[in-house]
Symmetry: C3
Subunit: 218 residues, 3 copies
């Protein structure tokens, strides 16, 4: 039952992340294989890292090819229909937000199931959620969303922490999932709608003359 629920949520998360990848490929005017590549890497990247770090190999999509079929299908759909979307980048951001909110829970759940401590489960949630989008942005030479000033990683950490915390308290998993998803998604949505951000470090600019750490000439 929980298994089935997690499975469908996982498929949905892979699909929306793949969509964000396909939309990024559209921004970069790639060919159909570029769409497939970026959608696939974005969709399965986070879960792959999670499986590698936990030692759950072969990784999930090797055992269950349906995941790759989904990302290829989404890539093809994106290639054919991306021009119909009025605000492509906005859709990209929201698809990424849903994927982020889903994978922070699934990463934490997989880690708990593998028997790790709660704190590490939260870290694993963050990594699962952020890695796919990070590789997407590096491959496409976009500024990674995780490094932009609006709240991003914080939302994944919050969602994973809410999920792990409630699960530790013994709440039934479906409710933990719902609460975790809402926590992550609402925070990220606020960040997107209001430009919400954490205070940045701005007490002193980087020097430009310190290549070897030497003081500047006078």
């Amino acid at each position: 039952m929980l298994e089935t629920l997690l499975y469908w949520i996982d498929l949905a998360g892979v699909a929306v992340f793949a969509l964000s990848g396909a939309l990024t490929a559209a921004r970069k005017h790639m060919d159909i294989f570029g769409f497939v590549l970026i959608a696939t890497v974005t969709g399965i990247g986070g879960g792959t890292l999670r499986d590698l770090l936990l030692g759950l190999t072969p990784v999930f999509w090797v055992k269950e090819p349906v995941y790759v079929a989904i990302t290829c299908g989404v890539a093809l759909l994106g290639f054919l229909t991306a021009h119909l979307v009025e605000y492509r980048y906005r859709l990209l951001l929201w698809a990424d937000a849903v994927g982020l909110s889903v994978f922070c829970l699934l990463g934490a759940e997989a880690a708990l199931a593998a028997g790790v401590s709660p704190g590490i489960a939260v870290v694993m949630g963050l990594m699962s959620a952020a890695f796919g989008g990070l590789v997407r942005d590096i491959l496409c030479a976009e500024t990674p969303l995780i490094l932009r000033k609006e709240i991003y990683a914080t939302a994944a950490v919050l969602g994973a922490a809410v999920y792990v915390g409630l699960a530790q308290l013994g709440l039934e998993r479906p409710w933990c999932l719902l609460a975790g998803f809402l926590a992550a998604f609402l925070l990220r949505a606020l960040a997107l709608l209001k430009g919400l951000s954490l205070p940045i470090y701005d007490r002193r600019p980087a020097r430009v003359y310190d290549d070897l750490g030497k003081p500047p000439p006078r």
Copy 2:
């Protein structure tokens, strides 16, 4: 017998990919250690990713140090002789093409041997073939070949698909390898000689004003 054949093909593939790495290092005026690093990462990167994803650890070059000896030797040779090559970038592209055509087969073969489904074997062939060159280009700050407009990943997918398809039909492995290699190499060669490419997505340029996905001010 097949084992021996695959082993020698693997060594050859590592060597040509290492050569493409050494030539990239020459373009970037690196020191001898830069050559060793880039040649090694390019030569063994794809196989390392394949082993990690399939759970075949420790990875192949930890068990068989000869691979690292080869990449170091090729790097040294490249450092000493790269200036003798008249069209260095052309040689780089062709070495990469041979490596691509070899590793798409070996990745698929390793995946089949590990018992995965045919579709995943093709994906694993693509990843083995493309990853080493991708890391080479990211480390050297070159535009990844896989993201340029000429056919690249498509050739690796074709080679792996021909190999897996014929192997599924029961053809003897050496013939499958030959057919797969020719399919991948000829397609990539056509792409290089004729500038052959897949149609790209160009229906609407990316907007510049959509940082948070907001519509533009009027």
Copy 3:
């Protein structure tokens, strides 16, 4: 006894690498989560790659959450105090140098303990030492220290080689560690203080017109 010594050295190495990450985050004016992310990736990245390649999963910090606690603590400390450091980039370089000198030994030691050959142990030492800083620099869009002209990777190789060589000769481990650390750190320190570098490949510049490897038009 050796176990305990290695454990404390490892914690110290993670802490100084995390510090170099936090200082890079300060240069880039990140928020507190950026500090945590970069410090953590830098601190545990090298050891994570080592564990993945050797097949020692789940990776070390999943089993021992204290490592992540350390990187988070260092990140917080860095966020609060980085503006007090007069030459931030110089401190970053020296923290990185200490981390480099520590992790080349620990990577080699872990590889020897896993039963690999001496040459591969040196390679693993280099990878453990260089990977965290490489990911830090890629994420922060800085030129990777490993690709700059001053000696960097060479110091890690020297330290690992000295350690592995002396260990093969039967010297007691604490002395091997001390000798390896001094070899790596002194060479890197010389490189930083004197701008010491290996000869680079500069026999012929890269051509600008060779996009598909074609000769230039006349």
